[in-house]
């Protein structure tokens, strides 16, 4: 983990690409929250996720990179776009997209970022790890997940299963039980709509 640190004044090609990808990710993330057009926000999110995946690739974490594209770009953003188009998706600027809390939100965001950056800088200081292709490949990752980290992995899958079953139970109105005193009409109205219960 700690090797001789090469000079920062002559960055390698990898480091330059990584910095550029980081700039793209931060820039598009800013556009996600500042754009006045709802669908454009979701599309900028695609750019942001793509830049993140590129960052993973540069760091030789190939598997994580493609999972990022498959899950976030391919599924989560499509789900969001579907949700937006199902409710309202006006073309052009929406006047009501600015929240009154935006100053507070900005403060919270900057504070969180500051904490994370301090922790990372404090934790690693000048530690330098040369990038060698291999540890991010599917074989290595699978071996470590199913050998070293098998208990957390199984615990997480049970947690996800519980969340899935919970979402199904919440969104279904034809399951008897729950509140026995209520007539069925009130029961169906008291359950939240399915699009709010789905999580990931």
């Amino acid at each position: 983990m700690t090797e001789a640190v090469p000079s920062y004044l002559s960055p390698t090609g990898q480091e330059i690409v990584f910095l550029l990808l980081g700039a793209v990710a931060v820039g598009s993330a800013l556009l996600v929250v500042t754009t006045r057009q709802l669908v454009h926000a979701a599309l900028w999110l695609v750019v942001c996720f793509g830049a993140l995946a590129g960052g993973y690739l540069v760091l030789t974490a190939e598997f994580v990179a493609w999972v990022q594209v498959l899950i976030y770009v391919g599924a989560v953003v499509v789900l969001m776009l579907f949700g937006i188009m199902l409710t309202r998706a006006p073309i052009g600027r929406s006047a009501d997209l600015d929240s009154g809390n935006r100053v507070v939100a900005a403060v919270v965001a900057v504070a969180t970022a500051a904490i994370l950056v301090t922790v990372v800088i404090d934790g690693f200081r000048t530690a330098y790890a040369p990038l060698t292709p291999g540890p991010g490949s599917a074989r290595e990752l699978g071996a470590s997940v199913f050998a070293t980290w098998v208990l957390p992995f199984e615990a997480l899958s049970v947690l996800l299963l519980a969340a899935l079953i919970g979402a199904i139970v919440l969104s279904r109105t034809d399951i008897p039980g729950g509140e026995p005193a209520d007539p069925p009409d009130d029961l169906s109205r008291s359950t939240p709509p399915p699009d709010q219960t789905g999580g990931h």
Binding site: V39, W66, M85, S137
Partner: protein, 313 residues
Amino acid sequence: MLEVALSFVVILVVFLVLPLIIGQTEHKVMAHMQSRLGPMYAGRFHGWAQLIADGVKFAQKEDIVPAAADRRVFMIAPAVALIPYLVVLIVIPIDRDRVAVDLDLGLFFVLAVMGIGVLGSIMAGWASGNKYSVLGGMRSAAQLMSYELPLVLAASSVAMAAGTLSLPGIVEAWQWWWLPWQAIGAVVFFLAGLAELRRPPFDMPIAESEIIMGPMTEYTGMRFALFMLSEYAGIVVLSFLTTVLFLGGWHGPFLPGWLWTLLKVFLLAFVVIWFRVTYPRLREDQLQRLAWAVLVPLSLAQLALTGVVKVLT
């Protein structure tokens, strides 16, 4: 370096020529299945130049952007729909050691990049500023979300069987008895892939009798041609993938390997066309039921079967 550049040029040529050949085949096969002749005049011999003539016509047409559309998104959308299929081709092996880039995670790469293509049709649907387009875009999104799962599950069954995610590695490990062993997975993969391409009978998003042309309603000229090209490029990519994953790619007696791959690809493309002529369009609820109540359980059963056989042998 030169070899890589050369293979990219070959891939670009394949990407531009194969969809045209399949499009022309579709014209003729559909026509003969419906007791028609199809194109007969362009290029004299059985209308072989019909699609070239179509291309010239598309290039001459005015490129119209509707006043109510979101200009930039509207203009980017065809590229977003087309480019993923071009990128996918670089990891598909044609013959033993004939692949532009041998990615260790080839299968994952392919599935991830193919998922991006659907964003193009959602973007087009929304940006057109047309209610039929928005409906088509939403149907595309719903269809993608439900068919992505069986597609990935069926593909991972093969990866389990071969013990690798690299596409040349999977073909290398393939043996003839994988045909019956992975048959369910092959059918699920092919059907789910067809649904992702929005080809009939899964063409609810572009159902022309109710929502005109779905996301493509407002497109004209070259941009419309790009959408058409992406549909046929999608058929090429799906046929290649099914060949490589389930039909053993270059394996086969007598003929050279690349010819076997192409033969299998054209056979599958013929099946795609055959499906279009044979089956009526599925209704939206039938579509969703097929994905969740049939294909997902089948692909899970295939995964279990693969696991059991893999442990026993």
